[in-house]
Symmetry: C2
DNA sequence: GCTTGAATCTACAGTAGCTAGAGGATGTAA
DNA sequence: TTACATCCTCTAGCTACTGTAGATTCAAGC
């Protein structure tokens, strides 16, 4: 039986975050000691690990909730999980493309920008320039 | 002269977001009509475009503020811009690494998960499994 | 010139996903 | 049994927006 602090350590989560997940219904209400402290078992450790890894991979709590629901009801088709994954993959690839462009620009800036003044520096222009914007106006959010 | 609505359209920003940027000092207070409505010129369009593109690339508003400050004071040495650029480059590369890992995982998920049922689907297990967690416990935040 | 309706205004509340702090209770090891 | 780390609840704060209410303004059509 794990205390909330140990569960936190094992999963790299803050204690408050675990309580927050419980509050919003992502984690179940755990058993308690006589004195009212939370105690966790392996099932909860697995569930929290899943949540944390998903978060690290960029899933929103809503997407995670969807996946956990699938996991809780395995009779459903996998197509649903697949759709979620595909959605996330599209977002990930968009982000990577943008970051790649930025990285190129930052590298050039660092290279060219040695003892000059900001006025000669094109980084700001690059990101300001509309013509260099390929994937215009798509969403930012996770 | 652009209305706030047209500026919003041109930059893919919500009207409220523009007002929010003004409120926190990222965007300057624009000129107003007699009736009190905001009117924007090209300088503001450029500035907002820069902000939006930077946000799309994952920069925090604070980082953007730094870059804009440099742009607003081109008499400063480029060393400062260089330092910021280097810092950002590090962040960008970290992000790309994480996204790359995610992309691999999502692709594998989609590949393995074809027409089966959730019970057979390893997506949930993969993310739950501690042993497959390589980059354990690193931060998530932007 | 007048009307109409979309767009704007301010102000405030709500969202996601946490994070921090106060003030007090509990658990455990020496 | 005492010290003190950890736990509890509750509340507030954070970033970066987003939405709503109710009033005002602008521009186009008649």
């Amino acid at each position: 039986m794990l205390t909330i602090g140990n569960l936190a350590k094992k999963t790299g989560t803050k204690v408050q975050t675990i309580r927050y997940y419980e509050q919003i219904g992502l984690m179940p209400e755990p058993g308690r000691t006589e004195g009212g402290q939370r105690r966790y078992g392996d099932a909860e450790l697995d569930r929290l690990s899943f949540i944390r890894h998903s978060r690290q991979l960029g899933f929103s709590l809503d997407a995670i909730r969807e996946l956990l629901d699938l996991s809780d009801h395995p009779e459903k088709s996998c197509d649903e999980a697949d759709a979620i994954a595909r959605r996330q993959l599209r977002q990930v690839e968009q982000r990577m493309a943008r970051l790649k462009a930025l990285r190129t620009e930052l590298k050039r800036m660092i290279h060219e920008c040695s003892g000059g003044r900001t006025a000669d520096c094109r980084v700001l222009e690059v990101l300001r320039d509309h013509s260099e914007c390929l994937t215009e106006h798509d969403d930012i959010g996770a």
